[in-house]
């Protein structure tokens, strides 16, 4: 094939792909994209980010408001959730099983979460937990464990929908943890109010061997402010988001977090549907010389804050892996007991039964390691090690559990009549992706 033919082939393939994409219809993006094709864009990011509301501080804080370390110093080893945690866990679990699970299949194929589901999640008050009372939230102390329990519960319903529900709180949690007084008063009260903004924490980039500590997205100082350039991958609910926190390599400093309001010049989106997590309507976010004010930088580019952000995000992902793996185990047990082969339930065979045992062992191990990471974060202890080990388990065991779940259902596991093929796809993400979530 000549070079010309090859180039032609690529161009036609692109048009073919874009114009036959059902994603466009589902996300109501066809018009914008057709226009993009007409103007013959050189890049693919012609979908505008949504116009952000005017975020303005309505009050003054003398100092940033943080959630303090848990007040009671835990003297004893304890695996019992508190009364309050149990209540929140139960509410999240009910919502997961009654609202998320039935909507999961449709949300997966349409790459969108139903609006009423997302507002239902907001009513659970998940975001409020991470916002101090002073800023209209409900948080009184550091509560990574509580958020882990809630994330586990939601992911039992569906991982993609759980991601869609939890994505905005990654941004509000980050602002509570690291925002200065000005940043907090500007943004946080709106997260605690009705019609809270959709927001997303964008760390992941479309690179092989992606390393969040070696970002391709760059931040350059210009005048008082910054100029950001780069591409962020799989940003949840990006098209709806009014606010992003974007990780970028700050020249002379290292990786840092920037508050970016949507709708700014140089920002563009392209849909990026993936193997799983489809309900979260993932998209690529392009930043083409996006100008930011000096106040956009979070925590003055502190390297320790950035590392903490990455670890807290991994804890949240491990919680989703735990919840989805639990869903798989709970689904498999009645299935292998009812499914007959050779005149008896397949669960009477050791190869099947032992797979169930292994799933339970690795699932429980993952849960405990992640709980330890979260409880150390709440206690103000170093937790990077535990978060990393939980991630390792989420990557290795989570994927194995997803695979075993499909395997135990055989051909039935491969078809969409059962949710296990979706769990297989979603579990691949949980031990791998960076950012997007934060406890």
């Amino acid at each position: 094939m000549s070079l010309v033919n090859k180039a032609m082939g690529l161009g036609l393939r692109l048009i073919n792909r874009v114009s036959s994409s059902e994603q466009l219809d589902r996300l109501h993006l066809r018009k914008a994209t057709e226009r993009a094709l007409r103007v013959g864009s050189r890049n693919g990011f012609r979908i505008a980010t949504s116009a952000a509301r005017r975020f303005a501080a309505t009050r003054k804080l003398l100092a940033p408001s943080r959630l303090p370390r848990a007040a009671s110093d835990p003297q004893l080893f304890d695996l019992s959730p508190s009364e309050e945690q149990r209540m929140l866990q139960d509410a999240a679990q009910r919502f997961a099983m009654e609202a998320l699970r039935p909507a999961a299949s449709e949300a997966d194929s349409s790459c969108a979460a139903p609006a009423e589901l997302l507002s239902g999640a907001a009513e659970l008050g998940i975001t409020l937990l991470g916002i101090p009372e002073e800023l209209d939230g409900a948080g009184t102390e550091s509560n990574a464990v509580t958020q882990v329990l809630i994330a586990e519960a939601l992911a039992q319903g569906d991982m993609g929908l759980a991601l869609a529900c939890l994505a905005p709180s990654a941004v509000s949690n980050a602002l509570t943890r690291w925002g200065d007084a000005e940043q907090q008063t500007r943004y946080l009260p709106s997260f605690a109010a009705e019609h809270a903004p959709v927001a997303a924490l964008a760390v992941q980039e479309p690179q092989v061997l992606f390393n969040p500590f070696a970002l391709q997205t760059s931040a350059r100082r210009e005048g008082e402010g910054f100029v950001l350039s780069g591409v962020k991958s799989l940003v949840p609910r990006a098209a709806q988001a009014e606010l992003f926190i974007v990780a970028a390599q700050l020249e002379g400093v290292g990786p840092a977090l920037f508050i970016v309001e949507s709708g700014g010049a140089g920002m563009g989106l392209s849909t990026e549907p993936a193997m799983g997590l489809r309900a979260a309507a993932t998209a690529r976010l392009q930043l083409d010389r996006v100008k930011l004010p000096a106040t956009a930088l979070l925590a003055a580019g502190d390297a320790a804050v950035y590392a903490e952000c990455i670890s807290l995000s991994r804890i949240a992902w491990s919680a989703l892996a735990t919840g989805t793996a639990q869903a798989a185990l709970d689904y498999l047990i009645p299935y292998v007991n009812e499914r007959q082969a050779f005149g008896e339930p397949i669960s009477h065979r050791q190869s099947v039964a032992f797979t169930i045992s292994d799933i339970s062992i690795e699932l429980e191990g993952l849960r405990l390691v992640n709980w330890r990471a979260a409880s150390r974060a709440d206690a103000g202890l170093p937790f990077a090690r535990e978060a990393m080990l939980a991630r390792q388990l989420a990557a290795e065991k989570g994927v194995r559990i997803g695979s075993d779940a499909v395997q135990l259902l055989g051909g039935h596991g491969f078809v969409k009549e059962h949710p296990v093929e979706r769990w297989y796809r979603d579990l691949r993400a949980a031990g791998m992706l960076e950012g997007m979530l934060l406890v």
Binding site: A70, S72, P74, Q75, L76, F77, D78, L79, S80, P81, S82, Q85, V145, L209, F210, N211, P212, F213, A214, A307, I310, S311, L329, I333, V336, N337, S347, H348, Q350, A353, F354, I356, S357, D358, S360, I361, E362, E364, G365, L366, L368, V369, W371, R372, A374, S375, R376, A379, L381, A384, R385, E386, A387, M388, L389, A390, Q392, L393, E396, E434
Partner: protein, 402 residues
């Protein structure tokens, strides 16, 4: 409040156990690995020390001591003997598993006595070293199939049979022997009997030569018309078909987390030493960079450490549940299965990571890899744990899921 750190009140005990492991176990570890069947004299002194720790700590021992479930009602979260024993066991096995198994008065027989004996028996056997004899030449995992018989004759039971793989069988003063009152009845008829060494008809026939834990003696016995006082039967002498095996099997809910703890301590020793050797060669593990962007050796260490951490916390969970009198058969087996297999995988992989340094006898890595294997076998093999877990989760009987 969810907290998975070592409880403050056990930190002293853990630190003492760590000192014992570092100062006494480790320096003697290789010597007694080579001198199989030689008694580690150093342990006598330690036994006395441990007795003191056990008494002083309100039943919070550092060895395989009391794992009794008291009937007393208490509300709230409890961190007690099961948890402290698991933590102490981990530290001591970081030093040497064979030594822990040879600690005077810390045998599995002691655990059995502590778990199921009556008050009178507890008093009578206090301060004595007790081994445990279950396995017979024709049956291991299938302990319901034992053939050793116990026949009531006046004030005595008369025991006949053959027992193998009795850990500390030579050194212990007492052996808790499993025997059946009636071979036709099955599980429910199996009882445990405390047999004093020196009882006529109770004869030690040989000591085994083993892959690992060579510091620990493993004995074989023959029981020939061995007369044991009636009051040495542990627990309830009546045959209760309803309760079945529950009496004797209940011991395992308490001892399995301890064997898991042994594997956890051993695995940690292996990981720590490998990490030191690799660090000296310039390999550092980073807990924030993705594993795939680190060296293959560092990524491997991360994988191993993740399995270690899961085994560690599953073990603490099972022990904590026992302390809080929550039914823990499932969690005890999960801990034993995970720790048993992880112990083997981790120690063998550490040998590989360290190459001929790991394989040679200058380091203890090869010894730890040999020691590890038994921990995935005794107190219920990997496969038995898997069966127990699966039956519980799937609601299956042993007749359905064989």
């Amino acid at each position: 409040m969810i907290n998975l750190e070592t409880p403050k009140k056990f930190r002293m005990l853990v630190s003492q156990a760590q000192q014992v492991a570092r100062e006494i176990f480790r320096p003697n570890s290789r010597h007694y690995d080579r001198a199989e069947h030689a008694y580690p004299q150093q342990l006598d002194m330690l036994g006395a020390l441990l007795d003191g720790m056990n008494e002083g700590g309100g039943g919070e021992g550092a060895g395989a001591a009391g794992v009794r479930r008291e009937g007393a009602r208490e509300t709230g979260n409890r961190n007690s003997g099961n948890l402290s024993t698991a933590l102490g066991t981990m530290e001591l096995c970081w030093g040497d598993v064979g030594f822990l198994l040879s600690m005077p008065r810390q045998g599995l027989g002691n655990a059995a006595i502590a778990s199921v004996a009556s008050e009178e028996q507890l008093k009578r056997f206090a301060g004595r070293w007790a081994a445990m004899a279950i396995t017979e030449p024709h049956c291991g995992s299938d302990s319901a199939a034992i053939r050793t018989t116990a026949r009531l004759d006046g004030d005595h039971y008369v025991l006949n049979g053959e027992k193998i793989y009795v850990t500390a069988g030579e050194r212990a003063e007492l052996v808790v022997v499993w025997a059946t009152l009636d071979r036709n009845i099955g599980r429910a008829a199996i009882k445990s009997f405390v047999v004093e060494k020196g009882t006529p008809g109770f004869e030690l026939v040989r000591l085994e030569h083993k892959l690992g834990i060579r510091a620990s003696d493993t004995a074989a016995f023959v029981l020939k018309d061995c007369r044991v006082p009636k009051e040495n039967l542990l627990g309830d002498p009546t045959i209760n078909v309803e309760k079945g095996f529950a009496g004797v099997m209940q011991t395992f809910d308490n001892t399995r987390p301890l064997v898991a703890a042994m594997a956890v301590g051993l695995a940690r020793a292996s990981l720590e030493r490998s990490r030191e050797l690799l660090a000296a060669a310039g390999v550092q593990v980073d807990y924030t960079q993705p594993a795939l962007t680190q060296s293959a050796a560092a990524a491997e260490l991360l994988r191993l450490e993740a399995d270690y951490e899961a085994a560690y916390l599953l073990t603490l969970q099972a022990a904590w549940m026992a302390d809080n009198r929550k039914p823990n058969s499932l969690q005890a087996s999960q801990a034993k299965a995970k720790a048993g297999r992880s112990g083997v995988q981790i120690t063998l992989k550490c040998v590989e990571l360290c190459g001929s340094l790991g394989y040679g006898e200058d380091e203890l890595l090869e010894k730890w890899a040999r020691d590890a294997k038994i921990l995935d076998i005794f107190e219920g093999t990997q496969q038995i744990q898997q069966l127990i877990i699966a039956r519980r989760l799937l609601g299956k009987s042993s007749a359905e899921l064989k």
